[in-house]
């Protein structure tokens, strides 16, 4: 018991220590040292998390809910804010995955960010990010969940705006932060509703009393928690920040989109299952929104041409699967998909980062071609990640995605419709993933690829913003002049190689009718869940689903091959024929515009009204102008009496004095 607690605290505190060391020691730590400090603490944290997992397994199944309380943070009548961690199979599993993938991303960054002048700052932020995420995952009560939740939002702001010379990056950071704060508000208000019914902030105590909360409160609370989850996990309608977040350095994209941050919403719903099972309507909202997001973002991924944004939309889509799963009661499947997704998505981002480096910062796939020969390692990693994302057997994504869909299908009723959308999207996923691969890696090599084949890494003459094309300031807070590709950098190669391996084998943790390792491991967390007990897809459903999934994936790849390799004119013709649809997708279903019309503009209009009408007329006119006018008018009247004639004043004084004396004499 104690060893579990010790390892939990160590896991949490290693990244914090790394953050502080890098933040304070940036003058002392020379060269690549900050990178190795940052990576070292993450590996230490990972080892500690694995030890925590083993220590937890040593406990009896009933005891695997360890609360580690450091101290009472605030304890008063009816309020129990403790600095407490909850270590159970769910949080442990998330912690191990997060620290593992984050450690590899740190390792990758050691080389990838090598030329950046904000090297120590970068690793300090990165460590802080992981610390925040671990706090979110390991928190044992709502109070520290909210703290971790807000920290993650702040850290994402710092990292997305890391290249602060770019206006687009700072704008994206602000956007992410504002939307995340919206989610924070939802989370806090949701917590109030839950707290109202239970009178405790502690998870375990809350879950025990979940049935006692009034139906209205639990539904309102869960919907508000979902708002928080949607904002963090980039689900419709709070998803617009995620694509813009691609302005950050590529390792940041990998970190935010693979294992951390965006999966916080998935974790939240899975963690709060006793509440969501009390409120089927809130759970339905989650499932439908997840389903909507997975489809919509896949269609956008099909048409955008920014390398990183395509992967970002695929992340949204995959998170949609997870949200749909955990909201439908398929908790293990959702967590399983989170786990495989962490590997292949981090891998895809790293490979994309390598390609972008070879392009000297350019992210537009229209300008990329034929990198296969120049970057064989990156190509291999990209294909492995792509196959896993597309869900081709026996890669990791295949098992997890099909488990999600099989379990959701087992819910029956309208959930079947969600599953149909899920399979259609699986097809689209394969299509856009291999569109990316065929366009970037195959065909006639582009000038940059040619240059690389001749042994020289392309460098831009003038640094330009990849989004706007404007020339850029090259001071601190701007990607350095050097670029690093996986083929030439050991740390990047190691990180990508390990992730590629994981992207192949990670799915074998849970193969239907062969092994149920994850389900057994997570059993203590979900033991009392209705759906965990009830949902057991039949063999027909499972293997039928797998067959459909595999066919959808292979069909998608085949179609992608046909369209983008064999007959490129099809793509052009399709674009012409379905012009309105294409426009809709390219403009991201006008989500930005819709949010702009619905919220931003009314807010701006209200601001203008407040400033120009209310403030000018009511505040300036009435409250400030009224008394000021009175004083001014009064003083004007008095001022005209001030003639400046000294003798007149003297006469008045004497007159007044005489009056006073006269009055005194008369009254005595």
């Amino acid at each position: 018991m104690t060893s579990v607690k010790t390892f939990a605290w160590l896991t949490l505190l290693f990244p914090l220590a790394g953050c502080i060391v890098n933040a304070l020691g940036y003058r002392v730590l020379r060269g690549k040292l900050p990178g190795y400090v940052g990576t070292g603490v993450l590996f230490a944290s990972f080892v500690s998390a694995v030890l925590m997992l083993f220590a937890l397994q040593d406990l009896g199944e009933e005891e695997r809910h360890v609360r580690a309380v450091a101290w009472d943070y605030m304890s008063t009548v009816g309020f129990d804010g403790e600095l407490a961690l909850l270590i159970d199979p769910l949080s442990t599993f998330m912690t191990v995955t997060i620290t593992g993938v984050s450690a590899l991303i740190h390792l990758y960054s050691v080389a990838y960010m090598g030329g950046d002048r904000g090297y120590a700052r970068f690793f300090s932020y990165l460590n802080f990010f992981v610390f925040s995420m671990l706090l979110l995952i390991l928190a044992g009560n709502f109070l520290f969940l909210i703290v971790g939740w807000a920290f993650v939002g702040a850290a994402s702001y710092l990292l997305i705006s890391f290249w602060f010379r770019r206006d687009t990056a700072t704008a994206a950071g602000i956007k992410a932060f504002v939307i995340n704060v919206l989610g924070d508000v939802g989370l806090v208000l949701g917590t109030f509703f839950i707290f109202k019914g239970t009178g405790t902030l502690d998870y375990l105590a809350t879950f025990e009393k979940a049935g006692e909360i009034a139906q209205g409160d639990v539904t309102a609370g869960c919907i508000l928690l979902l708002v928080g989850a949607f904002a963090k996990s980039a689900q419709i309608p709070l998803h617009t920040w995620l694509a813009d977040a691609m302005e950050g350095p590529t390792p940041v994209s990998a970190l935010i989109h693979a294992a951390t941050m965006v999966t916080a919403g998935v974790y939240l719903i899975a963690r709060m299952w006793p509440l969501f099972e009390q409120s089927s309507s809130a759970a339905a909202v989650g499932a439908i929104v997840g389903c909507l997001t997975l489809f919509v973002s896949a269609t956008i991924g099909l048409v955008v041409t920014d390398l990183k944004r395509i992967i970002a939309y695929s992340t949204m889509s995959q998170i949609g699967y997870m949200i749909m799963a955990v909201s439908s009661g398929a908790y293990v499947a959702g967590i399983f998909h989170f786990y495989t997704h962490a590997f292949f998505k981090a891998l895809l981002f790293m490979a994309a980062g390598s390609v972008i480096a070879a392009m000297a910062g350019v992210q537009d796939i229209d300008k990329m071609r034929g990198f296969r020969g120049a970057m064989p390692f990156t190509f291999g990693c990209f294909v492995v990640g792509g196959l896993s994302l597309a869900g081709v057997p026996p890669f990791a994504g295949f098992f997890s995605k099909d488990e999600v869909l099989a379990y959701v299908a087992d819910r029956g009723d309208w959930h079947v419709a969600l599953v149909v959308v899920g399979y259609v999207t699986a097809f689209i996923t394969a299509l856009y993933t291999f569109r990316l691969i065929f366009r970037v890696f195959f065909g006639e090599p582009s000038p940059e690829a040619r240059e690389l084949e001749e042994g020289h890494l392309h460098h831009a003459d003038v640094p330009r913003n990849p989004v706007t094309g404007d020339e850029e300031d090259t001071d601190v807070g701007f990607p350095g002049p050097e670029h690093h590709i996986a083929e030439r950098e050991g740390p990047m190669k190691v990180a990508m190689g390990l992730l590629a391996l994981a992207a192949i084998v990670a799915g074998w943790l849970q193969i239907p009718n062969v092994t149920h390792a994850l389900e057994e491991f997570l059993h203590p967390t979900f033991a009392e869940s209705r759906y965990f007990e009830e949902l057991h897809p039949s063999d027909g459903l499972t293997f039928g689903g797998m067959a459909i999934g595999a066919l959808a994936a292979i069909g998608g790849i085949a179609l992608a091959y046909l369209i983008w390799m064999r007959r490129p004119e099809i793509a052009v013709r399709m674009r012409e024929r379905f012009r309105p649809l294409h426009t809709l997708f390219v403009n991201k279903w006008y989500a930005d515009e819709a949010l702009d019309r619905l919220f931003v503009r009314p807010a701006q209009w209200f601001g203008r009204f407040a400033q120009q009408t209310f403030e000018r007329i009511v505040v300036d006119g009435l409250f400030v102008g009224g008394p000021a006018g009175l004083v001014r008018a009064g003083s004007a009247a008095v001022r005209s009496r001030q003639s400046g004639f000294l003798r007149a004043y003297a006469a008045l004084m004497l007159l007044g004095l005489a009056g006073v004396v006269l009055w005194l004499l008369l009254s005595s």
Binding site: R639, G644, F645, L646
Partner: protein
């Protein structure tokens, strides 16, 4: 001798001073008239002191003299400065502080 005479003289001097302050335009003369008024007050104070047989009034008179001395110092200083700066020495001309 009745105190009324002293007070009558005092009132007369005070009235002369006050009239001078109101009528005269030269600051030097106004200053002189002010002195007259102060000394009229001193006379009244001392008269009352004699009447009551206490020294309080005389102490007051001494203090008034000190104040008068200070006032003259400052006042004359200002008047001299006005001469030096060639400002017209006429209180009717000095009305920049009008509203």
């Amino acid at each position: 001798m009745s105190i009324a005479w002293y007070l009558a003289v005092s009132a007369l001097i005070f009235a002369i001073g006050a009239g001078g302050v109101m009528v005269k335009r030269n600051p030097l003369v106004i200053l002189l008239c002010l002195e007259l008024m102060l000394n009229a007050a001193n006379l009244a104070l001392i008269a009352f002191s004699r009447m009551h047989g206490t020294d309080d009034g005389q102490v007051f008179a001494l203090i008034v003299m000190v104040v008068a001395a200070c006032e003259v110092t400052v006042g004359l200083g200002i008047i001299v400065a006005m001469y030096r700066r060639r400002v017209p020495v006429d209180v009717d001309e000095l009305r920049e502080l009008q509203g």
